[in-house]
């Protein structure tokens, strides 16, 4: 049977990790390529990069990072952040990423999904959804609203509606991030994850809130997620990916145990 995927997420700005990552011997790793190599060797099933470079003239630095990552690790990885059009997607894919993730751009111009899926295949296009809990209303019947610009701007899109719409437009996967849970390390937003996952036919990666291995058990069972994104819990070296996988395995969740 298919294994559940454990996916570390790396934030990159101007070609450097935004937070240094402490590995063995407390060596600070600020290079995203070296961090990717570490996680590859620890058993990561896939890696997600978010490029949070602000100035557009420094964007090509990321393309160079993608190229070097592709020469270093032999598992799939995706790149998101600042992907606005087909040309941005093409650059990242040609540099060696398997997948590109679109978020704000897809909200502003949903046709970018269809164009991307047509050009590169649905399996290449991931929809990043940032979601905030709101009051249930006629406009937001699920009680979860899509936000963009790092959670600062409400879009009026109902999260469940948007997930189904994006699936119909051609995305191959959804990366579902709860803004409320993000950074808390108190666990994933299980209700939201379950709601989206059981209503679409494409894989859902849960994101936001992971602090301990039990949180992954919850989101991969009750939350019905296909994969779990992790950040702080491995970046701060509280756990290694291998330890998390061992824990999941002991809790009857199948993950890839040999790498």
């Amino acid at each position: 049977m298919l294994s559940k995927r454990i996916i570390p997420c790396l934030d990159v700005r101007d070609g450097k990790l935004t937070k240094g990552i402490n590995f063995k011997g407390n060596v600070d790793i600020g290079d995203p390529v070296e961090a990717a190599r570490e996680y590859y060797e620890q058993g990561a099933d896939e890696i997600v990069f978010y490029d949070i470079t602000a100035s557009s003239d420094k964007r090509d630095i990321m393309i160079d990072v993608v190229r070097r990552v592709a020469e270093t690790i032999f598992i799939p990885f995706s790149v998101g952040g600042g992907i606005r059009n087909l040309e941005d997607m093409r650059k990242v894919i040609l540099a060696g990423a398997e997948k590109v993730s679109v978020n704000s751009a897809a909200v502003n111009e949903p046709e970018i999904i269809t164009q991307g899926a047509k050009a590169f295949g649905s399996q290449c296009i991931v929809l990043g959804m940032d979601v905030k809990k709101v009051d249930v209303s006629g406009k937001i019947p699920s009680g979860y609203e899509i936000v963009i610009h790092g959670g600062r701007k409400f879009t009026g899109f109902d999260a469940l509606w948007w997930a189904k719409e994006a699936e119909a437009l051609g995305v191959g996967e959804i990366c579902l991030n709860s803004i409320d849970a993000d950074g808390t390390q108190n666990g994933y937003e299980l209700k939201l994850t379950e709601l989206i996952s059981k209503n679409v036919h494409i894989p859902v990666i849960a994101s936001g809130g992971a602090g301990k291995p039990q949180h992954l058990v919850e989101v991969l069972t009750k939350g019905r997620a296909d994969a779990a994104l992790i950040a702080s819990m491995v970046h701060y070296r509280t756990y290694t990916i291998a330890e998390i996988k061992q824990y999941l395995n002991e809790h009857q969740i199948k993950t890839r145990m040999l790498w």
Binding site: L2, F74, Q123, I202
Partner: protein, 209 residues
Amino acid sequence: MIAIINYNAGNITSVARALQNIGQEFVVTDDIKKLDAASHVIFPGVGAAGEAMAYLREKKLDTWLKSWLSTGKPLMGICLGTQIILDYSEENDTNCIGLVTGSTKRFPDKLTSDGQALKIPHMGWNSVTFRRSHPVFQDISPDAEFYFVHSYYPAPSDERAILGTTDYGMTFCSVLAVNNLVAMQFHPEKSGRPGLQILRNFCAWRGNA
């Protein structure tokens, strides 16, 4: 020299980088003269069957693959490159190359496991149960997993062509092997160390030559 068939189909650079990593020289080409001079041929692919076949026919690579197979030298199919070596694919209702009899089918919509509906594409890491040993898969642990991403699967009509199977709400053929041909649905170039080992084994294999 290993040749990777270049037909505008997605994962060619990934395969090239994996060969680079294992220290193997290679060319990426659609030039029949260069392909003829190769010792081994890799036929990769990500994309849709219809477009891929149109391109291959235009370049006469479909007939070239048949002649290559008859030399006895090793041929490896990957993902789409595995699906379109059969006679026919349900994807875009496409007549394919026909190196192996059978067809490529879409996963049924209502696959379930433990009562839960399964997602399509089948995306992620899964294992392969081998029916017999094969030089290309030697030293690969039965617990190894490989990276899959696909909505269609190869279904050869002759059971003997099936080397390995994978479970995803149903059992499907994930590795085919006939004489000097070996073809897999998963991506060895994206399957970590076991995947690189498969590529290394392939490069050392003599096929029937």
